[in-house]
């Protein structure tokens, strides 16, 4: 349907524009907020792909928890605007050295992938029906992938302990 195409291009444009601004502009708080906007657009794309559970989980976990963590760290460290020894007026993408390499690499990557994907011929649309419901995801998660599920819970425990230990102030002796 046409509305789906419009929605895809709209969300895609927002995601790309927000991500470009994340890496292009200097204020770290604006970067975090723009990334949240990008995540919101991606969540919309997941809804278009008939994955409402992933869409909502993206908002809850990524935009609602991980980004809050980033925002707290930026605020607590009072992260300064990026200072460099280069002239402030030269935009990051124009500076010599690893920056140009990075930008060139990114462009090369996009060009290659575009060519490769375009050559694959028409991959067709998505098959109608066969949409996984939340219940099916849950069942599969707890039976087929049960071991991975338990391992990720231990992973989160380890990460929690690690984060607390790493960020602790050194004890005054």
């Amino acid at each position: 349907m046409a509305s789906e195409t419009v929605a895809f291009y709209l969300f895609g444009a927002i995601a790309i524009a927000a991500s470009l601004l994340v890496i292009a502009q200097r204020n770290p708080i604006y970067s975090v907020l723009l990334l949240i906007a990008s995540f919101g657009a991606l969540s919309g794309l997941y809804v278009l792909l008939d994955a409402p559970f992933v869409a909502v989980t993206q908002i809850i976990v990524y935009a609602g928890a991980i980004m809050v963590l980033f925002l707290f760290v930026v605020m607590l460290l009072n992260a300064p605007h990026e200072d460099t020894e280069y002239d402030e007026r030269v935009h990051p993408l124009m500076r010599p050295g690893p920056m140009r390499f990075g930008a060139a690499l990114a462009l090369l990557l996009v060009a290659e992938l575009w060519w490769a994907l375009g050559r694959g011929g028409d991959s067709g649309g998505f098959p109608a029906g066969a949409v996984a419901s939340v219940g099916a995801i849950g069942r599969s998660l707890f039976t087929d992938y049960g071991f991975a599920f338990e391992v990720t819970s231990i992973l989160i425990l380890v990460a929690m302990v690690g984060a607390v230990v790493l960020a602790r102030r050194e004890e005054r002796r």
Binding site: I16, V22, E82, D83, G102, D122, I137
Partner: protein, 100 residues
């Protein structure tokens, strides 16, 4: 109907933006943000393929990727805080004392 290729190309562009961000930026936190962009691009690919092949596995892998990304962001930010306490700077070029 939006073909699968469109989603894959979008995901490729986002991944490339994330990669460029890791190279281009001189701020540890923004580098971590670029890594998050890359992870999200990969998530989009998984969900798109999961839908195209009609299985729930794509969404389940995304679930795990999100969990790992959360753990990695937490530990990464803790490291950034610890580094900041030492050198009062978030520029990765301040931490080059092991270079020869």
């Amino acid at each position: 109907m939006v073909p699968l290729n469109h989603y894959l190309i979008l995901s490729a562009i986002l991944f490339a933006i994330g990669t460029a961000g890791v190279f281009v930026r001189r701020n540890l936190i923004t580098i971590l943000l670029s890594v998050e962009i890359m992870l999200n691009a990969v998530n989009l690919t998984f969900v798109a393929f999961g839908r195209a092949l009609g299985s729930a596995d794509g969404q389940i892998i995304v679930f795990f990727v999100m969990t790992v990304a959360a753990a990695e962001a937490a530990v990464g930010l803790a490291i950034v805080i610890a580094l900041f306490r030492h050198r009062e700077s978030l520029n990765p070029e301040s931490f080059v004392s092991l270079k020869w």
